[in-house]
Symmetry: C2
Amino acid sequence: MAIDLDLLFTWGALAKEYKKNEVIINEGETAHFYFQVIDGCVRMFNSNDDGKEFTQGYFCNGQSFGEPPLFIDEKYPATATAFQDVTIIKLSKEKFLKILDEYPSIQKKFLILMAQRIHSKAKTSKDIINQKPEFRILAFLNSNKKSSDSTKELVPFTRQEIANFTGLRVETVIRALSKMKAENKIDIINHKIYF
Amino acid sequence: MAIDLDLLFTWGALAKEYKKNEVIINEGETAHFYFQVIDGCVRMFNSNDDGKEFTQGYFCNGQSFGEPPLFIDEKYPATATAFQDVTIIKLSKEKFLKILDEYPSIQKKFLILMAQRIHSKAKTSKDIINQKPEFRILAFLNSNKKSSDSTKELVPFTRQEIANFTGLRVETVIRALSKMKAENKIDIINHKIYF
DNA sequence: CGGTTCCTTGAGGATGATCAACGAGGGTGG
DNA sequence: CCACCCTCGTTGATCATCCTCAAGGAACCG
């Protein structure tokens, strides 16, 4: 679900590296570029007054991010930073839109991508509203699970990251996780979470 | 942001009327149709176990809804019912997708529409996480305000509807509204809200 | 005027947030 | 190798807030 790298470079795209926590997009900025992750992960989030953060999503290898403001005349609704050291390919808005016009198949891919995003955001808000910390955390874990079989996988997020994604506080996440471990819904081995 | 009615009819679309509260889409169903509101409003929402509802959005005159599952292979993530008596035009999924293929300009319109939806959903989740009933209600009111000037408009939603949209309880909404009235953030005249 | 829907208020309780303190692990430099 | 630091995890106590439950009032419509 990304544009071919050769094609991007042909159109003059440039790769850029960002160090962990470096800001890539600032909330409220005007959109000028198409971004696609080559290596690493990016985190999009909002901060409120008292420093509490809400993670909108993670975008990793091969995924694009921050596209919606390129199509509509709106500012970025969230900030994006490098979750780890990350390499990103950037293309100007004008050229990106021109690619979409020239290649209907690519435009269609983005239509599908946007539809997926809406679908997953709809599920997320439904789950978040549903109150109950345990429920929210389970929804988060499920949405990030790769294989859907029953073998437990290591969850690659810290408790703080889970808190940011679910809108809860760290302590609440920790307490909910302990309870879930007691109920065998997850495993915790050496502080690591398996689900 | 909708398909021309004549075009839809040319392709065999049919208009259908639904009575208030009649179900149009069931959560979990497979998507078979493209829906476009001709007259009235539709509400999309989720219910949880204890009957609490969360409104994902309202779709009124001329707007389409429930498109994402047509593009991706997913079930409907929410239920849609007639908010009032409503007339809706329906077109089969196959024909809808064919129209998109034949008219790139229409496909582009939908890409833009999907981008707008994502943008507004991102803002919504950001606001909902932000806790504070008053804050959530203000965000809801702002997102539904037509003109952005300072003249106050009648808010066409009941307190229950505001509660469903913000994930709060009616009583909480009522108390927050009273407080906001005292602070002159809104007017309440004869139980009606002006913002 | 009777019924329905919506609004309102109060009291009480549950729960997640907050605050504070400490533990554990991993990496770095002396 | 050890000391230090820094990030992450953990726990307990207290507090504020929203939910819950219950009851009644107001507006609207046939």
